[in-house]
């Protein structure tokens, strides 16, 4: 760095095809269409084909990765309006226990419990966190970190809902294939829906709140109401992930409130590139299989895992997605001065 007497300098330019295809009117050729669509369609198709190729074990890992992907999406959406949460486990556990209760005590079928747990969970979590929504930054993070711990201790101590044994023998979700494709499709629906929302004017207001909430207030927008809406949506996604997982394993226990479910989505988003949603999914798709692959190392698994995570964040602080997107859209060349 700092070599100022270089005779050449690096120049970074958008590829012509990007400039053309950014504007809808200019899409003239199949090549332009392919340029726009292939980065969206190819990964989706690849993910849908993978379970057919992979064995049963790695398909299970994919389901797991998809669930974490949903949690990471939920985190990223909340962060996009300036609410940094350390408690995705609250959403996950809430969804899991609601399903557990509905299925175990009332015997409701999956068709009812899944949507009911998603919506009720969303409402309950929003009500729980609404009082602290005025807190900013680290205070909000602290409260969200503590609440899931509170729930897990309460359940263990009071022996409520099966105490530390949890609720077992829940209705299975359906066949292996069905649940795999169901969660994958849900993940992509969430991903594209959130990207759509954040691109609309509605999402624009949320991003502006993260930038400067006072300026948004001076634009006559009730920032607390907007934050509550975002919180609800994010909580619904998290609860859905928890509810699905609960049926998938036919079990709910206090471990649904575990710290893993709070930290892993955060790590995945940081690795993949925050603020894009795609980054959150890519991050989960890297981290979850990685942590499985490292099982061979036995006790040192977590240590290796942490080193890889730290290393990748130092090398690519912008996130994997931003890096790939830049390489795809721009090229660099040396220019004579």
């Amino acid at each position: 760095m700092g070599k100022t007497q270089e005779e050449v300098r690096k120049e970074r330019l958008d590829r012509g095809i990007k400039v053309r295809s950014d504007s809808v009117y200019a899409i003239a050729s199949l090549r332009d269409m392919a340029y726009l669509l292939s980065p969206r369609i190819i990964p989706v198709v690849a993910v849908f084909v993978l379970p057919l190729v992979l064995g049963g074990y790695w398909t299970k890992v994919m389901v797991y990765a998809a669930v974490y992907g949903l949690l990471a999406l939920s985190w990223d959406f909340l962060a996009s309006c300036g609410l940094f949460s350390l408690g995705q486990a609250l959403f996950f556990g809430m969804g899991a226990y609601l399903v557990g209760i509905m299925n175990h005590y009332f015997g409701w079928p999956v068709v009812v419990t899944l949507p009911a747990a998603t919506l009720c969970g969303g409402v309950l979590c929003t009500l729980l966190l609404a009082p602290v929504i005025r807190l900013r930054g680290v205070y909000f993070a602290m409260v969200t970190l503590v609440i899931p711990m509170l729930f897990s201790r309460l359940i263990v101590a009071t022996k409520l809902f099966g105490g530390s044994h949890g609720l077992t023998n829940l209705t299975p979700f359906g066949g292996e294939w069905f649940s795999t494709y169901f969660i994958l499709i849900s993940l992509f629906v969430c991903l594209f829906a959130l990207r759509r929302i954040i691109g609309e004017d509605y999402g624009l207001v949320l991003r502006a709140i993260r930038d400067d909430d006072r300026a948004v207030m001076s634009a006559a927008i009730n920032i607390f109401w907007r934050k509550i809406q975002a919180l609800f949506l994010s909580a619904c996604i998290g609860c859905f992930a928890g509810a699905f997982m609960c049926h998938h394993y036919q079990f709910t226990g206090p471990s649904a409130f575990a710290l893993d479910y709070s930290l892993m989505p955060l790590a995945a988003t940081a690795l993949g590139g925050p603020g894009t949603f795609v980054g959150a999914v890519i991050g989960s798709a890297i981290l979850v299989p990685l942590s499985e692959a490292l099982r061979a190392f036995g006790g040192l698994r977590i240590a290796f895992y942490c080193v890889i995570l730290i290393g990748s964040i130092i090398v690519l602080p912008e996130g994997v997605f931003h890096f790939i997107a830049r390489k795809y859209h721009q090229f660099e060349r040396d220019v004579e001065v």
């Binding site: 760095m1 700092g2 100022t4 624009l204 930038d211 001076s218 634009a219 006559a220």
Partner: protein, 522 residues
């Protein structure tokens, strides 16, 4: 008569931790009126704007909008009723393109109610609105990211964002601060037009000449209290106002005048021929745009040199390059994939080539920059701020340095226990310069030290710079306000669009017709 009054302020009172920011303020704003709000730095003007718009809750008193009590309402509720504002320190959504900034207020229920904003329409509305405020529809400007826009554009963007609400009352908090003369000249007619269209305006401003051209009535604040009210010309004649605002009182209010402190000859003999700083063929590119074009500049020991130029002329880039901050920006840009910065040319400091030296090392060599609107530590007192800045010095040295800073800025001594966040804009500026002085630099770089100061404070801060220079320090000052600065400098450079257009001694610059026209407004 009562129906004419659109906004009524009744006995507002507010204090922050013992500092009275508003003391028993009452006034009425009539429909269609253009009210000027003036006063020295720290007199409570911004606090009054915050009290009216709900960003700060008053301890006592009421604010009535169209006879409706709005005291204690949230800022968005008040904005919803039709009271819009701009911010003294621009608060834009920097990660959004300019026109998207204007879409935010267009999403409010106030605008929705008025014209059922359908999808996609808002983009057009925003572009159209920005076109009225100097963001040409057919240029790239409305689509640029807000963080890449120059200050003057951001100020107008803030105005456009406020006007997107179609407010009935508009509060402008130092809209003109940091704008160049031509930008002010372009903005004034916009305000006049708005006022004619029926918007009642309260304008906080230091640029009195421009304000008096448009204001119907003026209120003068000092120490949080209203000290005068009336027609602009009449108000300025009252003794109280003269004393508070326009000069003579510099000893009482701000900094000791230029004559006090270092008597002539007390410091080092001025103007040796030893070259302190030498900049050769400096060019800086942001991505592919040229910010500075093969610039040559030198500063000799003991000199005070000014770099004059309008906004976005390349002054800040020059200061960042000389201080080495640009290397950090470069590194960050490389890692985060931001705008790529390229620097060519050589910088010599005290005979050593520092072109590739990091900013920290340059500070250790005595090359210190006080940035534009340099931040102070808001939660630490003035004294603590100075101590923090001098943490690399020994205990006794720190005491001496602080003492000499308090001598230069006598005002700071009285505020030494006050928290940085409670200081007014001008006081913070003085503290920031003081903090730079704590490193006892050999060459002090000041980037826009006069930005946002009242004319009187500009004079006193310029006087203080003269004092510092008399004590043997070398100064390089980037500024757009030539009027207060020219009398105190030795030499100056004028840069425009990154190109050096003029250089010379003070007298040469003062005599130059171009400088007189564009910087002195003669």
């Amino acid at each position: 008569m009562e129906e004419d009054i659109i906004l009524r302020v009744e006995r507002l009172h507010k204090s922050f931790g013992g500092v009275v920011a508003a003391y028993d303020i009452s006034f009425d704003l009539r429909k269609g009126e253009f009210l000027g709000l003036i006063g020295p730095n720290g007199s409570g003007k911004t606090t009054l704007v915050n009290l009216i718009t709900g960003f700060v809750r008053p301890d006592e008193g009421r604010v009535l909008f169209k006879s409706r009590d709005v005291t204690g309402m949230m800022p968005y509720g008040i904005a919803e009723l039709g009271i819009a504002r701009t911010f003294q320190m621009v608060r834009m959504f920097y990660n959004l393109p300019a026109y998207k900034n204007v879409i935010i207020p267009l999403c409010s229920t106030r605008v929705k109610r008025r014209r059922g904003g359908r999808l996609g329409e808002r983009d057009d509305m925003a572009i159209e609105l920005l076109d009225e405020y100097g963001f040409e529809r057919d240029s790239m400007v409305p689509y640029k990211m807000a963080n890449s826009l120059p200050h003057g554009y951001l100020k107008r963007l803030d105005l456009a964002r406020a006007m997107a609400l179609r407010p009935e009352v508009l509060l402008l908090d130092e809209l003109f601060s940091g704008m160049s003369m031509s930008e002010v000249a372009a903005t004034l007619p916009m305000l006049e037009r708005l006022n004619k269209e029926g918007v009642s305006i309260i304008m906080v401003e230091h640029r009195l000449k421009e304000l008096f051209r448009v204001a119907n009535r003026v209120i003068v604040l000092n120490f949080g209290a209203k000290i005068a009210e009336g027609l602009p010309e009449e108000v300025m004649k009252t003794d109280k106002v003269k004393a508070a605002y326009l000069g003579s009182e510099s000893t009482a209010e701000g900094v000791s005048p230029a004559e006090a402190g270092g008597a002539p000859g007390a410091g080092v003999e001025k103007r040796s021929d030893e070259r302190m700083l030498e900049v050769r063929d400096l060019s800086v590119y942001y991505e592919n745009a040229l910010a500075i074009n093969s610039l040559n500049l030198e500063v000799c020991r003991g000199e005070m040199v000014a770099v004059l130029g309008s906004n976005s002329g390349g002054k800040t880039t020059l200061m960042n390059t000389v201080s080495g901050l640009i290397l950090d920006m470069q590194k960050k840009a490389r890692r985060r994939g931001g705008e790529r910065i390229n620097v060519y040319g050589r910088i010599h400091f005290r005979g050593r080539d520092v072109t590739v030296m990091g900013p920290g090392e340059r500070v250790r060599m005595g090359l210190v920059l006080c940035r534009e609107r340099h931040p102070v530590f808001r939660d630490s007192s003035v004294l603590e701020n100075l101590r923090i800045a001098g943490n690399s010095r020994k205990g006794r040295e720190v005491k001496q340095l602080i003492e000499s800073i308090f001598e230069t800025f006598s005002h700071l001594r009285r505020l030494s226990k006050r928290r940085g966040g409670l200081l007014s804009g001008g006081e913070q500026q003085m503290l920031a310069i003081g903090m730079a002085l704590m490193t006892s630099p050999a060459l002090l770089l000041l980037d826009e030290p006069l930005l946002g100061l009242s004319p009187m404070l500009q004079q006193t801060v310029a006087g203080a710079m003269k004092n510092i220079s008399k004590r043997g320090m070398t100064l390089l000052v980037a500024e757009q306000f030539a009027r207060p600065l020219l009398p105190v400098i030795d030499r100056g450079y004028v840069i425009e669009n990154g190109i050096l257009v003029l250089s010379g001694t003070r007298d040469e610059l003062e005599g130059d017709p171009e400088v007189r026209a564009s910087y002195l407004g003669v």
